[in-house]
């Protein structure tokens, strides 16, 4: 049932009936200008449905990070249309976009980006503090969140004492603690071994399920493709194919995993 086509196609996928969370049409992005200009995106059309886990795959330099940066509102597009949860960042403006990210977007990075001088609970509390939740409440919710990812007994530890997989679980807690509507993950498993990577994806899959959370996951790692609802393959600044993944099969797994 998986199809790979040479021309850009939009496969409806298993969640085609759900509302659109991210809508992109004809997005272009060029870095620099003149001789040294790099055309990172050459017209990207893509949509992500509410509750869907979409993976972005493709060779190095094809524009994956650029695309999720634009979708997450940390980078401005040049041309094209892009709405996230019905909002256009060009209309929201810089401060509106910042506020939008604070309330609606969660981030997971390859290098975790946990603040090494803060405890796990403090790290996880950061998005809540950004949203002006009271400190005591923020820490309490952060500890709750850490409990859900199995790190409830390490809330006062600092990140560098943790293994890579544990650190990524903390980062996922931080990305989800303020209940965002969109989660963007850039190579979340690349720094991890296979088993740990699988566990992290299971975790991501389980938190996505049942929520109105859409996930966009950039990856090189073919072994985690199975967790995707759809897989968008990019090449040279374009989406060249869209494949339906087996992610929905993990739905049964979700229920058992959610604690």
């Amino acid at each position: 049932m998986d199809t790979l086509t040479a021309t850009p196609t939009i496969e409806p996928g298993a969640k085609a009936d759900r509302p659109v969370a991210v809508y992109c049409k004809g997005i272009t992005k060029t870095y620099g200008s003149g001789q040294s200009a790099v055309r990172a995106l050459r017209g990207v059309d893509v949509d992500v449905r509410t509750g869907e886990l979409m993976m972005l795959v493709g060779p190095s330099g094809c524009g994956k990070t650029t695309l999720i940066s634009i979708i997450a509102g940390v980078l401005d597009r040049d041309e094209g249309e892009c709405t996230v949860l019905g909002k256009d960042f060009k209309v929201l403006g810089p401060s509106g976009t910042t506020q939008f990210r604070a309330t609606n977007v969660g981030f997971v990075f390859q290098a975790f980006n946990l603040i090494p001088t803060l405890t796990l609970a403090e790290n996880v509390a950061v998005p809540l503090l950004i949203n002006r939740v009271r400190r005591a409440d923020a820490i309490e919710q952060a500890c709750e969140m850490l409990k859900k990812v199995g790190l409830g007994d390490r809330t006062k530890d600092i990140p560098t004492r943790l293994s890579g997989g544990q650190q990524q679980r903390v980062a996922i807690s931080r990305a989800l603690v303020h209940k965002p509507k969109l989660l963007v993950c850039d190579e979340p498993t690349s720094a991890l071994d296979h088993v740990t990577g699988q566990k992290v994806m299971e975790l991501l899959r389980s938190v996505a399920a049942g929520n109105d959370l859409s996930l966009v996951v950039v990856t090189h790692d073919a072994r985690i493709f199975e967790f995707a609802d759809r897989i968008a393959e990019m090449d040279d600044g374009r989406i060249v194919s869209m494949t339906t993944g087996k992610g929905h099969q993990h739905s049964s797994f979700d229920a058992s995993h959610a604690k």
């Binding site: 940390v74 990210r101 977007v105 390859q110 950061v126 950004i130």
Partner: protein, 384 residues
């Protein structure tokens, strides 16, 4: 977020220590050097500090500072006394004499001659004896530090024995008997100070045509001193300054005519520059070290204003701690030097100056860091 900012700062021990060091160093050097300078400058008018009674000093118009004595005609005293608003006016002799020591060496001393009848302008505090003892034959009062150091006698075994009441000195070939020891403010040249009566003082110094150094004046109660000064100048043709004015005139003379302010200015300037460089560098590198995390916060929706707020809080904390430490160390230094010849004076104005310098240093450092954070692209968070 403020809590987060402080934890980021406090838990980065090495950087935190370095930044505090920079601020401490700057405020220590500025405060300490400034205090020594202030102390030295206040010694230039020690005579004025120690003379409590008179409000106004009348002198030759060409006098530039307290030690720049230009003798007046004896009649100056009567002219001053005749001015309306003068409660009383007394003559004051201020000059130098040479004390002959046991070993045949001479020691220069300041000599102050007080009006014979009233003894106006006597020492501020007596350690031994009374001011009135100056009425006895050949009587002089010597200041304690002078008596213990430069005028001390050689005792058995070469140990210095302080000059004491009852001892006899030789001043300009005249016999003088010590009748009291006074406690004086240290003077700039740190020569011993000898008090005696006006008429006796004139015998302790080489004969001159005119001997009256100053006329010291007390105003009638309630009269504005500046009004009286103007009146004295107009009616006598002499210069008249309030005590405060004369102190300033003296300090300004030293400031303008000696290399002292430049030397201290250089030390203070170096303290400021080195403090700025260390603090700025350490603070900036603290920010740059954390740039990845500032970028992460930015991506997660922290506005530039809030990130700047974090940096402001961090810099205010190091400013406060560094300033406190620096001033504390400077004050401890001052306290430990209390009984030494070192000049040290720490008025609130000086704290204000070093506080302002620290504020400038930390503001500059913070601005450098803020610029870095504000121009940071949140998209860098996805870069490896």
């Amino acid at each position: 977020m403020i809590g987060i900012a402080l934890k980021m700062l406090f838990r980065d021990k090495a950087k935190y220590f370095g930044i505090i060091m920079g601020v401490t160093l700057a405020s220590l050097v500025i405060t300490q050097q400034g205090a020594i300078f202030t102390g030295l400058m206040s010694r230039t008018f020690a005579v004025l500090t120690d003379m409590g009674g008179p409000d106004i000093w009348v002198m030759d118009p060409k006098v530039q500072f307290i030690d720049d004595v230009k003798p007046l005609q004896d009649t100056a005293l009567y002219r001053a006394r005749s001015v309306e608003g003068v409660a009383w006016a007394s003559p004051l002799y201020k000059g130098m004499t040479r004390a002959r020591m046991d070993d045949g060496q001479f020691q220069n001393c300041n000599i102050i001659g007080l009006e014979d009848s009233t003894l106006t302008g006597g020492p501020p505090r007596m350690v031994k004896g009374k001011v009135e003892d100056l009425r006895r034959a050949d009587a002089v009062i010597v200041d304690r530090v002078g008596a213990e150091t430069r005028l001390a006698r050689k005792g058995p075994g070469g140990k210095p024995v302080p000059l004491d009441v009852g001892d006899v000195m030789e001043l300009n070939d005249h016999r003088a008997v010590v009748v009291g020891i006074s406690d004086n403010t240290r003077s700039f040249q740190s020569n011993p100070t000898i008090y005696t009566t006006y008429s006796r003082a004139t015998t302790f110094v080489p004969r001159e045509r005119k001997l009256l150094s100053f006329v010291v004046v007390k105003a009638v109660p309630g009269l504005d001193l500046h009004v009286l000064c103007d009146r004295l100048e107009r009616e006598t043709g002499m210069a008249a300054y309030t005590k405060e004015e004369f102190k300033w005139k003296t300090v300004m003379y030293f400031v303008q005519n000696t290399g002292i302010p430049i030397n201290f200015g250089i030390a203070v300037g170096l303290g400021f520059i080195i403090g700025t460089v260390i603090t700025g560098f350490m603070f900036y590198s603290f920010t740059v070290d954390n740039l990845r995390y500032f970028g992460t916060l930015k991506a997660m929706g922290a506005s530039n204003n809030r990130l700047m707020g974090m940096i402001v809080v961090q810099s205010m904390v190091v400013a406060t701690l560094g300033f406190g430490l620096g001033v504390g160390l400077a004050a401890a230094f001052g306290a430990s030097a209390k009984n030494s010849p070192l000049a040290f004076r720490l008025p609130w104005q000086l704290l204000f100056i070093s506080g302002s310098a620290v504020a400038i240093i930390c503001t500059l450092s913070a601005m450098l860091s803020m610029r870095k954070v504000v121009t940071l692209e949140p998209a860098i968070v996805f870069k490896g």
